[in-house]
Symmetry: C2
Subunit: 133 residues, 2 copies
């Protein structure tokens, strides 16, 4: 069963708004949650999906709207060795045939190696999400 | 399979902050999504869960924290006829043995009959959530 990892809302004030603005719901493929909890290596095939939706703000609440982007990280340590063992891709909801990622090192992995959110990010296998009880 | 219905973030400025402040992820029990889509009556046993988590704001993004409250609506048209056919209850994560709802008419159903968000709310069986593609 897919696991709902967490929700992050990237608001207009964020420097990440252009790429990730919206309500981000992150899901993890079946079996992956054990690795998220204990930090052991994700097996090849493990997939994170970030389902990014538009939002509207009314009376101090953020309401989810239509899908904007689907972004994925797919684990394959050999095929994607240059980007930490993850294949990164994303599609705009309005144009799902056209992949948005053409340079995964610059567009994705560059951020996923930054140690802003998690000090020892390489040990977390470049996954920003942590397990939330 | 449970269905992730939507996400609503109730921020400090909201009049609902005291009761629902946080990142609200709403789930619907298996089989219920067809009714959410087509508006037909939810069968008895249908359950909505609102999983409310704390959040922190950093650089214009809202990050999910620990669970604050679990709130549920359980469908039983006879047992809960006084509250639109839904049994309402909630528990604080820190004290899960003590139900928070003692007067479901005042604490819950009063709002679920308000036609602020959805004009024909009775036809929606007092469910605020709508199906988001």
């Amino acid at each position: 069963m897919w696991f709902h990892v967490n929700t992050v809302v990237v608001d207009k004030q964020s420097p990440l708004f252009e790429a990730f603005g919206g309500i981000n719901n992150v899901y993890l493929s079946p079996g992956g949650v054990a690795m998220l909890k204990n930090g052991r290596p994700y097996p090849d095939g493990t997939t994170f999906v970030d389902d990014i939706h538009e939002f509207t703000v009314k009376d101090g609440s953020y309401f989810e709207g239509e899908r904007k982007v689907l972004a994925v990280m797919v684990r394959n340590t050999k095929k994607y060795a240059a980007t930490g063992g993850w294949g990164f891709q994303a599609w705009a909801a309005g144009d799902p045939k056209k992949p948005l990622v053409t340079d995964p090192v610059k567009q994705c992995f560059g951020c996923h190696t930054q140690k802003i959110a998690i000090p020892r990010l390489a040990e977390h296998q470049y996954v920003f999400s942590t397990y939330i009880p």
